[in-house]
Symmetry: C2
Subunit: 389 residues, 2 copies
């Protein structure tokens, strides 16, 4: 029933890699995949307005059920018209279930087969999440896509990964039974740590539950790029090709190439906004530190030719001044640029897939990032020379 609203059309597949371009239909508009979602944990992407998000090309925005449950409360958001109205974002929204956040509360939580009891990071108050409770929260929030409640164990402790996997699968079934909102898609989350066999088992089990989309959780937690690539290939082999795959918590330019080439459709990450607030901005020549003294007289923008508001209007010297002076406008401009940079890159990647040239783009990226490294110079697409730190 719910699936009717969430049709996923594949519009192009790359012949040289596993990359695909698609359209995911949601009640709040179409998502052209591959897509990167800026993160608005507390119902705001830090330091920008919804209008800014539209202008940098954002289509999907992520918020966090755990954070919004604690503050201002899911019932409160529902009373105020739901998350779209609350945060003034009329496009598609996705809520993470909060599993990752709850299991990050080391020492503040106690997990059993039924759910998890934890202390609020805000005031120490005691709370309990079960799959049913999390579905209640996410349905009150009313994002277009809700993620199932899962357990995120340390990825290299096989015994714990196996135990968590059983729970994650039982919880996925319970989430599915508890989820009734027809204008919201519930995505299952594949776990299995760094173990290909467990990952495949998880993908097969969740596929049997027939979710309209699948999250790939528990990655981007310290594994090498090769390890992650191997897992993603297992995912592409075992998850259904006609459903979107969402690689959770990944948002570096280099990661985009590697994961798109392995069939990933959706990304989210706090990286571009967090880096921006620390004064680090993406450019086609690598990251630039806005605190750098050599920028004090630099009349060029962050990235010549970039169409973002920051690059169209301000010099590096001015933005550096804002950071040195502790001015909020610095955080804002750096955030606008980083989001625009990543979203423009993802747009280029999608266009290449549709034009049948992604294989070449990917090969060129590989050649340049392995050859030139941080010093790679002028190039045909924005991410060349960019390696994640």
């Amino acid at each position: 029933m719910a699936r009717m609203s969430f049709e996923f059309e594949l519009v192009a597949r790359d012949s040289a890699t596993r990359a695909r371009a698609g359209i995911l239909h949601t009640p709040h508009g179409e998502l052209h995949t591959p897509v990167f979602a800026p993160v608005g944990t507390q119902a705001t992407v830090k330091a920008v307005t919804p209008r800014d998000l539209r202008e940098v090309g954002a289509t999907l925005v992520l918020a966090n059920a755990y954070h919004l449950y604690l503050r201002p409360g899911a019932e409160r958001v529902a009373q105020l018209g739901g998350l779209h109205a609350f945060m003034g974002w009329s496009g598609p929204l996705l809520t993470d279930s909060g599993g990752y956040q709850v299991f990050s509360l080391e020492g503040l939580r106690d997990v059993d087969d039924d759910g998890v009891t934890f202390k609020s990071h805000l005031d120490g108050s005691l709370h309990r999440f079960t799959p049913e409770k999390v579905m209640e929260i996410e349905q009150l929030l009313g994002a277009d896509i809700a993620m199932a409640f899962d357990e995120c164990p340390p990825p290299l402790d096989r015994a714990r990964v196996e135990t968590a996997l059983v729970r994650t699968h039982r919880w996925a079934e319970r989430c599915q039974r508890a989820h009734t909102r027809p204008d919201q898609a519930l995505f299952g989350i594949v776990q299995g740590g760094a173990y290909a066999d467990l990952r495949a088992e998880s993908a097969r089990f969740l596929t049997s539950l027939d979710f309209p989309g699948y999250g790939i959780g528990g990655l981007s937690v310290g594994e090498t790029r090769a390890e992650r690539g191997a897992i993603l290939e297992v995912m592409d082999d075992t998850l259904p090709r006609d459903r979107p795959r969402y690689l959770m918590g990944v948002g570096d330019p280099a990661d985009f190439f590697e994961a798109v080439a392995r069939g990933v459709d959706i990304f989210d990450c706090v990286l571009p906004t967090r880096l921006a607030r620390h004064g680090a901005v993406f450019t086609s020549h690598g990251r630039v530190n806005l605190h750098n003294a050599r920028l004090a007289g630099e009349t060029a923008p962050i990235e010549p030719g970039c169409e973002c508001y920051a690059c169209r209007n301000f010099s590096l010297a001015y933005i550096r001044h804002l950071f040195k002076a502790g001015e909020i406008l610095g955080l804002h401009l750096a955030t606008v640029h980083n989001l625009h940079f990543l979203l423009a890159l993802m747009g280029e990647i999608r266009r290449a897939i549709c034009a049948g040239t992604f294989g070449e783009m990917y090969a060129l990226y590989h050649e340049r990032s392995s050859g030139g490294g941080q010093q790679a110079s002028g190039n045909g697409f924005q991410a060349s020379g960019l390696e994640s730190g």
Copy 2:
């Protein structure tokens, strides 16, 4: 010579009060007076972009010579194309000379007849301002209007006020001699503390120097509204009617009425932006504290009918949530609203002067603010019931 570019046309005078409406021509556009200038001390109005400033109706923006001299340096700003290019504001700019800031450095400065030696509030380094040095700085910055370097003594110590007044007058002459930039107007600053006779003497002396405009300094430092009103009437009696008068550091809705009614044309104040960052917003019913728990479920905007971006798109409940969660967007939205509120009010005041109805508006404001106080309800213009704290 310079004056050619800075013609001040009076377009309307109120018959019931001393209020006037004018047009001040500057190299970066016309200023329709009375006008309120948001303060961008460090070459940015805190928490908003130049585009936001245009949208809330700002025409004149203030920056501070003392702050920009210390960081990033006046030569640096000049090398980067001047203050307009540096901060991305193509409209008229005004720089305060920094006199007020330097004389606020109690214990960190040493004044003599030639100038003042002071320690930077940033790093304790030693600097010296003379009238000539300040003119050099302001001409490097290149605002449309530069303020003379003056001494701001405590307003109720007559001996010190008299000594400072002699200095301020000598310094005004030296500023005038040192100021050569034809695309920048130099305004003299009237001092004289709380003493009507000294104020009149200062106004007469500075008028003899024939400045294209006059600042009224050393007010808004603790005097009562009645005391300030009396001084402003002396100013109106002694300053030339065909030159703009700028009441420095005043920006409360109630102050607008009282000062405009006494012939003031230009205002600036950090109040609306500073209050906003502390979660206090102007409304037609008085200030609202955005931290207030009773707003948690409030679906209305800050001010129903307000045309600002914050009020068109967000509920009080959401903005309160942003403040509780420590989100930058809260500071931004409150700042946008407060600036829009004051600028819209000044626009209403100007239209009333031009329509010949300011006297009625002022009488109505008086009636309501004395009768209803903070609890005053619905009204015909935005500032009723607003008293400065």
